[in-house]
Symmetry: C2
């Protein structure tokens, strides 16, 4: 069975160092509908590793289904993530295919397209202990939402990018929200319903990883390209 790739080990090693502690913000680049590049910072949430295909760890982050990056991702699913680790002066550029998983009730749910030869398809067919043979994305989505803690109310706001009259308008928005199963007041229930309907998983399946190490002398650059289920490695001029 294919092992975890060397770039993934290197990334985990770098993240485990004290000088990179808490460095879970990376930048996601997309192409907009006019082929203009767009880029914004996101928080990394997790890696999903198919048991039957540990050589292809899938990046898990989240989004609001109402943001402009969603139509951008649907139109041009090939994206690039750049993860700059200041503490060790390392950069991981990860090119991959993005998949957005919204609420089962959302109209965009039908756009989910999992290619049959993808790691996502392997993960999908494995399921979990509680649902063997079919990954329960709705359960995963709700679990990740519950883990968002102080961020949960963000998805109960008006759509990101809506024009406001004043910064004070934000004071009307919910400040905290309980986990999905823990709502007691009618207001929390209503806000949780809005928030979970807007919350979406964003998965990125890597195909190329370009790793630059500026913290070693001489500096190094290594490019990993997925071929079939394995990765080939090339040493490049940084």
């Amino acid at each position: 069975m294919a092992a975890q790739p060397r770039w993934f080990q290197a990334l985990n090693d770098a993240l485990s160092l004290p000088e990179n502690k808490g460095k879970i913000v990376y930048q996601l680049a997309t192409t907009d509908l006019h082929n203009i590049p767009r880029v914004r910072s996101l928080q990394h949430r997790d890696f999903l590793i198919p048991k039957g295909l540990p050589s292809v760890p899938i990046i898990l982050t989240t989004t609001d289904i109402r943001t402009p990056k969603v139509p951008q991702l649907l139109s041009t699913p090939t994206v690039e993530v750049v993860w700059w680790l200041d503490g060790t002066q390392e950069q991981f550029r990860i090119t991959g295919k993005a998949t957005v998983i919204p609420s089962r009730e959302h109209p965009l749910h039908r756009t989910i397209d999992i290619p049959h030869d993808s790691a996502l398809a392997v993960l999908n067919s494995e399921g979990e202990e509680s649902s063997p043979g079919k990954y329960d994305w709705e359960k995963k989505r709700r679990e990740v939402f519950d883990s968002m803690n102080s961020l949960r109310p963000v998805w109960a706001r008006p759509p990101p990018g809506t024009v406001l009259e004043s910064y004070d308008d934000a004071k009307a928005w919910p400040v905290t929200l309980p986990k999905l199963a823990e709502a007691e007041t009618e207001e929390d229930k209503k806000n949780l319903e809005i928030a979970i309907s807007n919350f979406a998983l964003l998965l990125i399946e890597p195909t190329v990883v370009d790793w630059v190490q500026l913290g070693v002398k001489p500096d190094r650059r290594t490019k990993f390209t997925k071929e079939g289920q394995e990765w080939t490695e090339q040493i490049l001029v940084p």
Copy 2:
């Protein structure tokens, strides 16, 4: 006369805080020739502020004229820079038009296109004390190169992205290079000639700035759009 814009003041204020000390790495997104987004980290170098148009500060960074981002920038000059300031949890997304200024002898020098109504055109027509009426880009390029210090030898290497046999191949590359006027050995002179021929300025003239402040409560988002020589402001849902 138009003053410096509020987003620029906010960015300078954020950069001057001790918690953002040394945070001069941002990410530049481009679209490649297949309309795939590409993004990499760059070091900020300076802002060029036209005396006659201080409302439009121009971002100055640098590149190797041999990197893939150069044809990407020439094909799709609208780019996006994202500057994440971890210390204050602030993000500046700057959309703008990129201009690459290579050596005067480089074939791409003729592709330099400065629109007549741009801040770059204003700067260009102002020149400097030593060359009034026409900005001396070659002088600026050489000055910025000289300021690169320990990075100067980087531009004397083989083209970025060239495949190597081994990490040890890098040990043959120059480790230090003097300033342009200070070369004494033939080897330094030869390497400096290569390096300065590959070194290029990369200028980005902002048209939209999207400023997100996650470090204040409630968090804030403000969008600045250049209209003529002024900026309009909109408060947005983050």
